[in-house]
Symmetry: C2
Subunit: 337 residues, 2 copies
């Protein structure tokens, strides 16, 4: 009896970052139909930053949340439709819209220390009849105990599933194992893991999560995603299949979706370059990159040094003003040497 | 006290597969100078299939072994120059040529069950004053005991170092750990690992090797290599650095070599597609791919089914005639259904 692992494909949400959120509703419908036919359990869609992410600040998507929901909900036969909501970006209103279009899963994503801001959204998702998933981002930034504490908070709000997420792609397999094991022991709901590939460890980390007891894991076709991208779904399916896990996915079909449907819609190959590698190495938000590159140019320092220093200071999203301070300090130190 | 890990960069040998062996001597000299300045310990160069690999059968390189040796040996300041020799392709004569151009390391590569065909080449390498490395290819195909037996054979021939090589990119971290640990216990010389990325596990496997006791590991800039490519050197350096290992390599410099010197010379981004993934999934030689695609077309079957069946039968290089047999059998089965 092989363990069933539920795979959530987020090509059409996290993968949107890699195409500047420009997949059209038709693109999404075509890819989603392929994923559905390949046996993918859950398909997440929308702007890269979730519901209502389309904005001046996060980049405009090619269409509205409603257009995407309509297009994809119309083609799914078996897969569950899933949306991501970052409290502060998305609101209760968008969650109601998603439910109207038959979204069955709502993932409420907060920084790993801020599960409490997800309470009302998780509760609304449940009221709307959706599976409510608490999603702890940047969970490499804190120790195991803190992750467990925040996971328990999510559970207390009624979350049906809890995710440990490595948003910066900064974890090693041991980091993942420690967190998944601890959370699995501490809560009674199923556990998930979402990896990024900045250190080229996304598939290995996802495998480590499964071996440590995770019940569901994320991937994207071709590893599409911000920066270095995500766990490559079709590779993950091959690895799990080889090791005897049951994913319910047809390996050849998911390979074909990736290479024959997704690739022609990609703008560039998903690779690890010095920028995305530096994000994983420093363990900071991907969104710090552009600001750091600009500050580096202005102050004539190496952007990588800025990122590493931001990582040491455990800088989080919202503290972007620190970037210029750090760049200035580094330039002063450089001048003094 | 952090453990020193010796990194062998093989961008200019295994990476040659990804550019159809078309790096010029000037390309090699430029990249090698960058690798040397970044602190890479050992730089392997030559045709993708090693000394004398340039041929009708394996593809013609842009220049001769002698041209490459001359160009690179002229620019190295600290790094050791390294060549690979597959007995049956390269001969004693090429080894002498390499020594003449100051190559300090000779890696003698054999199938994992055929260490004995490397005896005379290892002995000659030592006579020529080179470090003699025994390199066991396709070591996923046999059990741990067989790998140990063959490693001991290499040691008995005087090999200074022994490599456990995952030529098909078919291993998981556990497979690597088991083999490295066992070989490390069985022989008294340092141990190395060479990974491929077909299952997106190259960096993780290399890390597992280091954690299991490997003293030296291979990589290529941007992961350049046949099929899915190799362990991405600059990513590996970042991961080892993050975990406190000492590689002696300047992380920013090696990132810059990869992105600023190697990338402009690449023909295509190094990614995992359904062909290279199928090689890792089936655990067969990369060179079976083209033959299988041709046979698949002729017999109207799926090439992936051919590869998987070849893997089950533990087909090895030299048995390419089996490919048509398998394709024919599959087509008969298909017709019967």
């Amino acid at each position: 009896m092989s363990k069933h692992i539920r795979i959530v494909d987020t090509t059409l949400r996290d993968g949107m970052h890699a195409v500047s959120h420009r997949f059209t509703p038709d693109d999404m419908a075509e890819i989603a139909a392929g994923l559905d036919a390949a046996g993918i359990d859950t398909i997440e869609i929308g702007h890269g930053d979730g519901l209502a992410g389309s904005s001046f600040q996060y980049g405009f998507a090619a269409a509205t949340d409603e257009d995407y929901l309509k297009a994809v909900s119309g083609v799914l036969k078996n897969a569950k439709l899933d949306v991501l909501l970052l409290p502060g970006i998305g609101t209760m209103e968008e969650l109601e819209l998603a439910a109207k279009y038959n979204a069955k899963v709502a993932r409420v994503a907060t920084h790993v220390t801020e599960a409490d801001i997800g309470e009302q959204h998780l509760k609304l998702a449940k009221e709307l009849g959706m599976e409510a998933v608490g999603f702890l981002m940047m969970s490499h930034m804190v120790g195991v105990d803190k992750v467990v504490e925040q996971a328990k908070l999510f559970e207390s709000y009624g979350a049906d599933k809890i995710y440990v997420t490595d948003s910066a792609g900064a974890m090693t397999p041991k980091d993942v194992t420690a967190r998944i094991k601890a959370v699995k022991e501490a809560v009674s709901v199923p556990i998930g893991h979402h990896a990024h590939n900045n250190l080229s460890l996304a598939v290995a980390n996802t495998l480590a999560a499964v071996e440590a007891g995770a019940d569901m894991v994320d991937g994207t076709c071709k590893g599409l995603g911000a920066g270095a991208g995500n766990t490559q779904t079709e590779v993950l399916v091959a690895v799990l299949d080889k090791l005897g896990y049951d994913t319910g996915i047809d390996l050849y079909k998911i390979m074909d979706v990736a290479d024959d449907i997704v690739v022609p819609k990609m703008k560039r190959a998903q690779v690890i370059d010095k920028n995305s590698l530096s994000i994983g190495y420093a363990g900071v938000y991907g969104s710090f990159l552009l600001h750091s590159l600009r500050a580096a140019e202005k102050f004539q320092v190496d952007a990588r040094d800025i990122l590493v220093e931001l990582g040491k200071r455990k800088t989080v999203g919202g503290q972007e003003d620190m970037i210029v301070d750090v760049a200035y300090e580094l330039s002063q130190k450089q001048a003094a040497n």
